[in-house]
Symmetry: C2
Amino acid sequence: MRATVLHSPGDIRCDDVADPVIEKPTDAIIKLSASCICGSDLWPYRGLQNSTGPMHMGHEYCGIVVEVGSAVKTVRPGQFVVGSFCLSDNTCPHCRFGFPSSCEQREFMSGAQAPYARVPLADGTLVATDEIPADDLIPSLLATSDVLGTGWYAADAARVQPGCTAVVVGDGAVGLMGVLSAKQMGAERIIAMSRHTSRQDLALEYGATDIISERGDAGVARIKELTKGVGADSVLECVGTQESMMQALNCARPGGAIGFVGVPHGVQLDGHGLFFAQKSLMGGPAPVRRYLPYLMDLVLSRTINPGRVFDLEVPLEDVAEGYRAMDERRAIKTLLRLQ
Amino acid sequence: MRATVLHSPGDIRCDDVADPVIEKPTDAIIKLSASCICGSDLWPYRGLQNSTGPMHMGHEYCGIVVEVGSAVKTVRPGQFVVGSFCLSDNTCPHCRFGFPSSCEQREFMSGAQAPYARVPLADGTLVATDEIPADDLIPSLLATSDVLGTGWYAADAARVQPGCTAVVVGDGAVGLMGVLSAKQMGAERIIAMSRHTSRQDLALEYGATDIISERGDAGVARIKELTKGVGADSVLECVGTQESMMQALNCARPGGAIGFVGVPHGVQLDGHGLFFAQKSLMGGPAPVRRYLPYLMDLVLSRTINPGRVFDLEVPLEDVAEGYRAMDERRAIKTLLRLQ
């Protein structure tokens, strides 16, 4: 089959690769309904992450099960499924505690920017729908696999509650999903930090009540101004740089909470500063599997439309253009058309 | 009056100083029933904290109000009061949000290792009892002012819940109060990390179910062993060094929470590591004023006996010996007899 391979930083191609096969009895093979490019795919694309040799890219997926290993019990060929980018057994103590993204058997999905993919730990990872969903719901269902689940976790870890004031740092796809999530969780005020018109528009559509274009100290000062000097109850950090983390910490009120979901690159935190700031900090790879059934229901009932975050669609053969557009911030998130 | 003054590292004395007077209409003057030495007093005593000139020491206090400023409304001369080491107005947004230790008008108490002390922001800071308490309750009431409130906050920030497994890193007075607090909050298993017999004994008396003498990686391995490889739900970090913080982080299960109350000295946290550890982190100066009424009730009803943490009692004149005993870990916590 044809699939996306990153050969070296900047060199991403659609190559001929071997079809995926069942390797373990707990595997499933799915035919993807669509795939997409993640903001985190840009780290190795930009050479900011060590890699050894060619990487099969893609970890967001949904589609039809075509084959299952002999041990798979909960999904069967013909079903439409969504899975998390974190593969998990859903039975270990960490999964049962609500953190499948730290599963004892955790693996990270790969190779999903392709028409077919192997999903390890299929029973623990995949959630099937009752019926094959309508085509127009595919982008939104695909979004639950990572980008929506990650934004949701940011809001959850930032303890968004009905009536609270939430700030979203980062206007990438995850940040926009954070806005949507905070809205669903009942935040009264949602302040999105963004300086790109198309992203601001989508943030407003998803429920942002205020848009701030200032960054760093000026951004913090604006948040303070908007909150009568108090700061935000909840801050969703959706970038992963030192600057964005400090911005998030400084935007929150004492006793407030920061949920951080941008994979930190070069972020260092001073214990003394964190102590006197007196803010709660929780982050990590999102426990998407925990949220999946609920988020899929929200999509299937057409309560939310996270698929709006895809503002570019290219055929798989043009995957390189999809990466370029995101790298240059011409696109928020690229959907890959597979058939 | 005679009071405790730190002239330079190691040089602590009982000196003649001016009697405290009302300086602002919101002040109160109290006659202390007892005072004590805090673990945090050892930082400047050991020269590990910058200081400019002589410091009037002491921030834990309880006693009888002898005079109040013209604006003070909620306490009056003759009442027995306890106050937090953090002075707060109890009316600002941070206080109302439950974080008086980040009050907009916050000051830190000083000069309480003395027979009399000035308490700024008296209305917001002091809590009076209905009656003058029995003498034997004074040490425990004094403990609510900081050491118990701080241990309580560690357990609260570490989200101790009924049935949970809690680990306490640090067997100083705060750590021991953390054990007591976790027990009160219903922790089923409380693992205290200690290698000093007298502290182990007190930890067991306060509700510890397991004692671990190993530290660092070996300590973490023991915790994992005791929790079937899972780690603890809640970890109370009551030291403030890089080693103790890493120990706390590594003891907690994914999705678990660390409450850190040891003032961090030289602690640096790596964002990437924190992300993949997936643990909640919350610390800071304890919002003791929020807990005070509840904790004072627990003492007055003789439900808890935090005063047992004082294992050395010296007259104020011998304050230097009190510091030495704590510095050399011969004493857990020193009570200063004032009359």
